[in-house]
Every structure is written in C-alpha cells, then in structure tokens.
Symmetry: C2
Subunit: 332 residues, 2 copies
DNA sequence: CTGAAAGCGCTTACAG
DNA sequence: CTGAAAGCGCTTACAG
C-alpha cells in the first residue's frame, strides 16, 4: 500500500502537496499533474482511517433500528439512505434487535467512530442516554421517542390520531366490541396507539374493555398468539385493530386458522408492508409514510450538523386511513 | 473527549499502561483499578479510529446485499449477525440496491476501512472484481456467485435443484403448461432456477415453451406485471413457478386481480417471507434456509480470517419443498 | 502556491 | 509488569 510519502517522493514534491491534490487545496497545475501521475503509477488510494484521525468527523451516519425484518423500518432506511447519499454521507444500518444492550453498543460505536450523525429508533422501554453522543459532536435524531433529559430533534408518526381514526372507522361500520393488539407494554408508540383507540371508543360513548386489549411484541408471532387468545375468550371481539403491520399479518393468520374471514370480524391494521395488498379480503390499513419519515430524519440530521445550536425540532407525520373490505361490515 | 493521556495523568501511570488496560495487556491489579477509576471519571472511551490506524484490521464485517426489502436477505443478515457478534465482529449492512456502482463503492469502502471481512451477494450481472479487496487482506465470502478470476469462498442455495423439484411437483399434480417467472436475465441465480425448471420439463418429456418464461426484476412489481402478461396471452399457462418470494407475491396479486384462485392455476413460489403463510389458499413453497446460509457465510469468513491460505470452500444448502393447496390440482 | 513540522489518539516493540 | 519513544498515514496551521 503506497502512502502519501511514496507519492511525494516519486513526484518530487512535499507530502503536504500530495495531500492538497487529494483534498482540493490550491496546487499549481503542473505539479498536480506530476502528483496524479505518481499516484496512478503507485496505485495510491488515500487511507481513510488516517484521514479520519485528523478530521473531526467520519462521513458516516448510523441508523439504529429495533427490527430489520419489520418493513416499516426497511422503508424508513430507504428514505434515510436517499437523502444521506445525496449529502455524501454513507449509511450504516444497525439492527439493535429491540435489545437495549445491542442498542447501547451501537450508540457507543457511533461515538467511538465519530460519526457525523445517528438516527435512532429506541428499543422498547430502553432508557436511552444520548448525552454522550451529542456531547461528542454527533448530530442525533430520534424516531418516535425523545430520550429523557436531553432536548433532541425528533421525527415521528402521529400514532394516537392514526389509531383513533382507525377505531372510529370501525365504530362507524357498526362494530362495537373492538379489540386492540397493542404491541409491547413498555413501547411508547404502543401506548400512544392504545390511547388513540381508547379515545375513539370513549368519544363513541363506549367504555373500553380491558379484556379486549392484548399487549404483545411487535412481531407476527405476537399478533397470531394474541388474536388466537381473543378468539378463545367467552366474549370475543367483533373487530380488531392491529397496531403494526406484523401484528396485522399475525392476526389475519389467526382468523383464517379459525375459519373466520373479515369483515365477519372487522380488521384494520397499521401498514408498512407492500404485500399487505395481497391479503384477501383486501385489508383496511393505516398507512404510515415510512420513507418520508426517513427522509425527514436525514434532513434534520444534516441541518443539525450544519447548525449545531439550532432550536430542536419535531416533525410529526400524519397517517392515512385506507378503508377496504376487511372492515366493511356486512348489513346484519 | 478524554484521551488516553488524560486518563494516564489522572491515574498517575504511563499512557501505554492505559492502553494495556483496554487491550488486555498485562497490568498489575491495583494499577488497573486506578486506570479504570480514572477512565470512569473522565468518561473515557477509546477512539477506535486512532486504534485502527495502528492495527491491521478493523473489527468490522460488511454484508453487501442487493435488496434490503427482500426478506431472503434480511433473514440472511440475521444469520450473519448472530455468528459475527459471537466472534466480536460488528456487522455493517450495505444495501447496494442491485446497482453495480453502489456495490463497487461499498467494496471500495470495505477495503479502505480495512475491514476484517466482507460478505457479498453480487448485483445482477455485475462484473465484481474482488482482487483488490482480497489482496488488501480482507476475508471475502461470496453468496450465490463466485467472481470470475479469483478463487473465493462461496455459500449458496441449490437453485437448480430447488426449481427442478418444484416444477416436477407441478407436473406430478397434472399441470402441463407451466410458466416460469424467472428473475433478471443477467442474474445467475435466475439462470440456474430456469435451468432446473427446464430440466424438470424435459425429464417429463415436455419441450419448454419459450413464451412461458418471463424475465423480470426480483421484486413484487415485476412478478405482478409478468403474471398479468402471461394471463393476457392466447395460450395462458395452467401453472406457474415463481423463482423468488417477491415474484410469488406479485404473481398472486395478478391472479387475484384476474379473479383466479390457485390451484385453478397452480402456483409454487420460492420462499423467504414468513408472511407467505398468510396467503390463501396456502402457498406451496420452496423453502430456502436463508438464516443458515448467513451463518455459514459468517463462519467461512472467520475461518478464512484465521487461515488465509486455506483451500477455498463452497457450501451449497438444499431447499425444501412444502406442498400446499396452491398447487393441489383439483381433479378435472 | 509550497514545504517543514507538529499533531490527530492510539499501539507496540524495546529496554528495563 | 512498566515507561519512554517511535510510529500508524494523513491534515493543517504556520512561514515563506
């Protein structure tokens, strides 16, 4: 591996001149040519690691997400990537597996690598201390949930309203015993969606029935088990709100296993997966603008990088309800 | 940011001693305690970048995949991650978007970062020159396809046999005009699966009909369009083999749009997505052990890292056919 | 525009 | 076990 010194020697210039050639410093045209020829000959490639040691920041952005298999997050990652790439930043995708320790390890890494930025969707119930990172000069944007203590830029979905609208829709269709697959008890998004669900019920004059709320993980298996539980109860629901796409898929599996086809039981699910279109009967979904959310996060990050002292900002994106057959209650 | 010098001063030892404490060198217990206390107080975190400049390798493994939204690859990533983490290596997930230029940029990055290893699932039809990387000392494992020229460790799925078995199954069920959604024309996995498909037909004494083969991308939209095309033809197929899970989903959408429910047209799809269980009628799938493949790749990588001169190895994993209703031909 | 020199924060022989 | 010193490969004021 040729170094800047080898190139300098061959070109007959100082190492600093070689450095300038590769960093856009001002260098006379002839000497630049000399340097480039020498570099070519030696197949010189600047060592990024050495470069990084001098510079303050590495052109890296970490995206720390809790579940790489969740399509909401892969869409989000696409959104982040698009904006980051345009800004000359490389994305490092980190799957924290909803595990606080893994998450902390990645946060630690972002700091130790002196990354330009980090976008973090916190693991459920994790305490999430980002002061280190922020103090170290890494621009940080949180998704869904702001860490306690430290002001920080935030992007999120209007979870509560999304759930409320979906529940109201089921009520309008005439469903009355509406269950909620609510996600992890300690996940803030789950609590918000649950609140929206309850509010819609109360607005309709219905007192929420605790037995109709199932806390689960945010994965398919959780949705399947929870829905199966609900179906086994003495007084099963006549509709269900699945608060994320994987839960929705799981619920659908449970219904089909029990030989029940929506809208016999009404079903609305938060979306995320393109393939939810595939489900028959067609599913009523709460669309979440995941890619846009990722873009927004990346833009906030870049802005924060450029103006470290700007006031903290929150961007909350609204969901859209797409009514479909799975919640189109048949006339009694 | 505290440095090793700050810690050394506070602890009253030499910087090299601090370094040893954080790198498992031999240090007397009391001094170690002193150092750790000082580090704690100063919130010292070793700068990985500076460390990397001295060391030969960075404890990083790149996984370069062509589509982060494809569940086959997210499962694979999980497999890689599990093994890598146990070996103390951090995974850097790189989404090349099936774009040769992005892919090459990531390969370049893996070299420039002096990563310990890189696992690469080549973009369709890309030329893929890894000699640089390998020459630079990074352990490299290819997925599905070995780059030309350089011997290299490889893991893959037995694509040909998987497709052959699936096609033979459709033939057994009595289907005769079997179409193939074949993936990109320049993708080697697509060619192999196509070959398996054709072989099964020939074995059954049927000459493959070129019009029944649709080349597409490996995404859902490709499957949808290709299946729609086939349905519009004068002499439509009576069954179809989808050579990846996203194509299978797309095909299913097209069928349902046309109001055709398998097994009226038989459907077998390569799997990858857990949610394919959701599809009704239940889908016959060619199961691919994606996570196991990822684990195998990571193990090969670690072995290669430890024994750089070991003979190159290939690990080919077999698929499993899970027959189900979507290909259970009704009696005529 | 250009060069000599110091420095980025750590690691690693080398002596002791 | 421990410290002083050189070095990893580049960048960046500082003079000129």
């Amino acid at each position: 591996m040729a170094t800047i010194y080898d190139v300098a020697r061959l070109a007959g210039v100082a190492p600093s001149t070689v450095s300038r050639v590769f960093n856009g410093g001002s260098v006379a045209a002839e000497r630049e040519a000399l340097v480039r020829a020498a570099a070519e000959e030696l197949k010189f490639v600047p060592d990024r690691i050495a470069r990084r040691l001098n510079r303050k920041r590495s052109d890296l952005v970490a995206l720390i997400i809790p579940d790489i298999q969740n399509p909401f997050f892969t869409s989000l990652a696409r959104g982040v990537e698009d904006v980051a790439q345009d800004a000359g930043l490389s994305l490092v995708l980190c799957n924290a597996d909803d595990d606080e320790r893994k998450q902390d390890r990645y946060i630690e890494a972002a700091k130790a690598e002196r990354m330009t930025g980090a976008i973090i969707s916190p693991a459920s119930g994790s305490k999430l201390d980002l002061s280190h990172l922020v103090g170290g000069g890494t621009a940080v944007v949180a998704i869904d949930r702001r860490p306690t203590g430290h002001p920080i830029d935030l992007v999120g979905i209007d979870d509560e309203r999304g759930a409320e609208t979906a529940t109201a829709h089921l009520l309008e269709q005439g469903y009355r015993r509406i269950a909620c697959l609510a996600g992890p008890r300690n996940a803030l998004t789950a609590r918000r969606r649950l609140r929206g669900y309850r509010r819609a019920l109360r607005t309709a004059g219905i007192e929420p029935d605790r037995r109709l709320v199932q806390h689960t993980n945010y994965r398919e298996d959780g949705g399947l088990a929870a829905m199966a539980d609900l179906l086994r109860s003495n007084d099963p629901p006549d509709a269900v709100l699945a608060t994320n796409s994987l839960l929705g898929v799981g619920a659908m599996e449970a219904l089909l296993d029990a030989d029940i086809r929506p809208p016999d039981i009404g079903l609305v699910s938060f979306s995320g997966a393109s393939w939810s279109r595939l489900i028959r009967p067609p599913l009523t979904t709460v669309w979440q603008p995941a890619a846009e959310l990722g873009q927004a996060a990346a833009k906030l990050l870049i802005r924060r990088q450029q103006e470290p002292t700007a006031a903290e900002q929150s961007i909350i994106l609204e969901t859209t309800l797409f009514p479909n057959q799975s919640s189109a209650r048949p006339a009694p």
